[in-house]
């Protein structure tokens, strides 16, 4: 069964991931959409996403990222959480089906790294807020 693709929404109604995607070059936005759609159509644990969808490790364990390279080898990343559970639990969370939840994105020049502070502030803090909400706050 194909999964749904949802977007985390902040308490003020803003959607960090779409704000990020709207600021990306059109080709990068298109590639992110293509990977999301491919993974949703053939969800984990099947191989999917053409190698651009990867599980993260360490302090980012539990998150998945889509890794793309853009003009000038600028690096673009889109961070997601997976939500899968029994139907009653999914309903309790306000989800219609197992879902890929897009949390936020970040970009950086080639051969630079994100710090743990970057991940904490721009991804984990939002992901924790997402998971703390029952039902989930999702872009409509």
């Amino acid at each position: 069964m194909a999964w749904r693709i949802e977007y985390y929404e902040q308490h003020d109604g803003s959607v960090p991931a779409t704000k990020f995607l709207d600021g990306c070059p059109a080709k990068i936005d298109a590639q992110f959409n293509a990977v999301l759609d491919a993974v949703a159509a053939a969800p984990p644990p099947r191989f999917s996403g053409g190698g651009k969808w990867e599980a993260m490790h360490g302090s980012m364990g539990g998150y998945y990222e889509i890794r793309l390279s853009g003009p000038g080898r600028e690096q673009f990343r889109l961070f997601c959480l997976l939500e899968n559970a029994a139907p009653t639990e999914l309903r309790r969370r306000g989800l219609k089906a197992p879902s890929i939840v897009v949390i936020n994105g970040m970009r950086k020049p080639h051969r630079t790294t994100f710090t743990d502070r970057d991940y904490r502030k721009h991804v984990r803090a939002l992901g924790e807020d997402h998971l703390a909400n029952i039902p989930r706050r999702l872009a409509q």
Partner: protein, 116 residues
């Protein structure tokens, strides 16, 4: 509330941009081909009753690298894909698309006719 999800509505809107549409279709095709190769190898592995651990041992790889490959937890390395294909007695082949091949042949024929 709309029956169509937020993601689908946004994608539909973005598809109005020809640059976005062309890149989306190109990327989907590329992803589909890569996914198809890796899934075919995994299917072949299962059909031959080969465990991921056995496969890893036979090609001299760490079992975790095989598990990661088949569950999309890492970017597939072509060398590893070819090693697995070899071990499972299969080939990775590239098949030219008919349309492009025919177009190139017609172009060559025209060039030859002009030269003659």
């Amino acid at each position: 509330m709309s029956r169509t999800g937020f993601h689908e509505r946004r994608r539909t809107e973005r598809m109005r941009d020809p640059e976005f549409r062309a890149e989306y279709e190109r990327a989907r095709s590329e992803i589909e081909q890569i996914d198809s190769v890796v899934r075919s190898l995994d299917q072949l592995r299962e059909n031959t009753g080969t465990s991921k651990t056995d496969l890893a041992r036979r090609i001299g790889r760490n079992p975790s690298s095989i598990r990661r490959l088949f569950t999309a937890r890492s970017n597939p390395e072509l060398r590893l894909v070819v090693q697995i294909a070899n071990d499972l007695d299969a080939d990775i082949i590239v098949v030219p698309r008919r349309k492009k091949r025919d177009r190139r042949l017609r172009s060559d024929e025209r060039a030859n006719a002009t030269a003659a």
